[in-house]
């Protein structure tokens, strides 16, 4: 027994109507495929930075990078870098390098490891636009 014929008698009379009735299912299937493609790309692509969202995340940065003349003291005494106006992609690379151990610095290591990919993208977008 064919349940679909029982449930949707229109389909038996008209093949076109059958496709029209199935459109929601077709779209759902397409959407699933498309979202899977985008999701798998998402792992390779960088998170899109949202400078506005970074405003709630800069508290860890401003205590050093927002103070004119602020100096770090380990293992050398030097001015912390100016990051406002720096290339966003470079800021992302630098934060990832601290998180991975490619760069080491006690404070920046800890901060970078606490940031998600989205946090890194947001903060980089924020500081690169801050001129």
């Amino acid at each position: 027994m064919n349940l679909s014929k029982t449930m949707y008698p229109n389909q038996m009379r008209n093949g076109k109507a059958s496709i029209v009735r199935r459109l929601p299912q077709v779209f759902a299937g397409l959407a699933t495929v498309v979202s899977c493609v985008f999701a798998s790309n998402g792992f390779a692509a960088e998170a899109v930075g949202n400078a506005e969202a970074a405003k709630a995340k800069v508290s860890m940065c401003i205590g050093c990078h927002g103070i004119p003349g602020y100096r770090a003291s380990y293992p050398e005494v030097y001015s912390v870098p100016m990051i406002a106006g720096q290339n966003g992609a470079y800021l992302q690379a630098a934060l990832r390098a601290y998180a991975s151990g490619e760069r080491t610095h006690p404070t920046m290591d800890a901060i970078a490891k606490s940031l998600s990919d989205q946090d890194i993208a947001d903060l980089s977008a924020y500081y690169s636009k801050l001129k």
Binding site: Y78, S79, M82, Q86, A89, T104, L130
Partner: protein, 120 residues
């Protein structure tokens, strides 16, 4: 007369130190050119060929010097606790630089106009 001599000495020292600084900047520019830093960081040190490379023009000189020393430490196998940067390209360039080269090129880069700022 004693005071005049003192004042003259002061003037000579001032001129001398400003000349020494100018020489450092000139030597720094020469190091920048010798190592062909512009091939990645851009001729004006603020237009790198890839956005993943930093803008250097106008950055704090002592920070730039610190970064170069960190590349030197990273390339010579210093422990992670020594504040290192491990990067094949920058490590190779930094290890060709003397302490004086590092100071000179950092001072020259810091003197260049750039978009960097302390803001929050």
């Amino acid at each position: 007369m004693k005071y005049l001599k003192l004042a003259l000495c002061g003037v000579v020292v001032m001129i001398g130190s400003s000349l020494a600084q100018a020489a450092d900047l000139k030597a720094g520019k020469a190091t920048w050119e010798k190592l062909n830093c512009a091939s990645c960081h851009g001729a004006d040190a603020k237009s790198p060929i890839m956005p993943a490379y930093p803008i250097l023009a106008g950055q704090h000189a002592d920070f730039l010097a610190h970064a170069l020393k960190a590349y030197q430490r990273g390339a010579t196998g210093a422990p992670a606790s020594a504040n290192v940067r491990k990067n094949a390209v920058m490590g190779a360039f930094a290890t060709q630089m003397s302490k004086q080269d590092v100071e000179n090129v950092s001072a020259w880069l810091a003197s260049q106009p750039g978009p960097l700022a302390v803001r929050r």
